[in-house]
Symmetry: D2
Subunit: 140 residues, 4 copies
């Protein structure tokens, strides 16, 4: 078997898929996503694992920034992800709303708010994305 | 099917299990863990998803702090998780080394370093845990 | 001379005063402040020192939280201050607008936005305050 | 009076000077500094203002990074400063020890530990510096 960083079968899902993270819509200023509170996003005591919030924030902001800059020959990579956990959630659906705060030449900064089914704020994440020139692609 | 926040079958794995996060050892000052770089911890471009680092840091520090304080009638909950991504990794194993920096009455602070197979630092996380009195358990 | 942590003459100003930080108004949900861009808030290259933003955020959020909780016999102390610098500023006035994002029993979280004279966002700070019971005061 | 971002008299001190922040030594991997706990670094209750820690961390890491990269035609600017406050200090001297954790082409990351006279950890700061090409200087 040859070494490849990419999946060779449909059964090998990436992180967003195994955690059930859904990216609903995004542009260069806003992005929205969500996940259902099932065991795959829980920690051992039955509440949402902090990593699930951080992961959805990272996915949302990455795809939104990357989509915006790739037409200019740039790529976007996560540089920092800082999450504060405000309220434990054990069931329902978590909704994420990302808002871009800064669009610089080399850095974008986004704030992501997470709310539960009663619209209560349960976590907030600040994500910094690095924007860099994409490496040239080889001619075939 | 009845609603339950907890798994009713062994097949419903929690986050650590679906991502393959391994907690190797821990006490009240250090903790070590790891994960293999498989698709389940990757983002769409084939590198490790930022949420995987944040999740392992959160799991390691939570179990280490909780184990230390529960004999005193306390519980530990994640309060903040701040990760900086330093180097993209697309294969191999990621090893996490957590070191406690502060043990207060109400707050513990830990630093977690992530290294790849060549011992290069690829991410760092600072985790703040809140330590609070555990709610009394009901008599049967 | 007796040891005292507090000033014994009016000429010994505290940090807010020596940096010229002004707290304009505050309640338990919002706070506003500002400083003029003079040398005392600059770094060697003539732009606003990152510590000046962090300091004003800390002062604003501390006084707003403390004012809100002290009538309940509690006190508020800064626990974490995380600032992202978005745009260098070399003159004019910096205005800070703080918005409370979370009011928990033991933790409050605030976001502070800093803008220059052209209303451009130049820095953002997230501040976490710990709220704890105040120590009993001694009877005379 | 002409507008100038720079001081026109020696009496107009910059932030490091008005707060008494001392940069003791630095190279591209470590840096050390300190400040005395006088009123100019205190908040109203007599303890060290959180902004003083953030400011010294920012100064130390900025000068260390900038000194290292300027010979390569680059300059360094603070991008993020995240401080956790662990122990209130009301007198003595605060010593800062900065350690570089990452040296990338566009980003450096440093950790700064602050200790009091009894060598107790009182605050920790993580600083991210952006490294960018310096603008060309004009010929005379």
């Amino acid at each position: 078997m040859t070494e490849s960083p990419l999946p060779d079968t449909a059964s090998e899902q990436i992180l967003d898929q195994v955690l059930g993270l859904e990216l609903l819509e995004w542009d260069d200023e806003r992005a929205r996503g969500r996940f259902d509170v099932e065991n795959r996003v829980r920690q051992p005591f039955g509440i949402v694992h902090g990593g699930a919030y951080a992961a959805l924030a990272e996915s949302l902001v990455s795809v939104a920034t990357h989509t915006a800059v790739m037409s200019e020959g740039m790529l976007a990579m996560g540089q920092a992800n800082s999450t504060s956990f405000l309220r434990p959630v054990s069931s329902g659906t978590i909704t994420a709303d990302a808002r871009r705060r800064h669009r610089g030449r080399t850095t974008w900064v986004w704030d992501v708010d997470f709310r539960d089914d009663q619209d209560r704020l349960c976590a907030v994440t600040r994500v910094t994305m690095a924007v860099r020139p994409a490496p040239p692609t080889e001619a075939p």
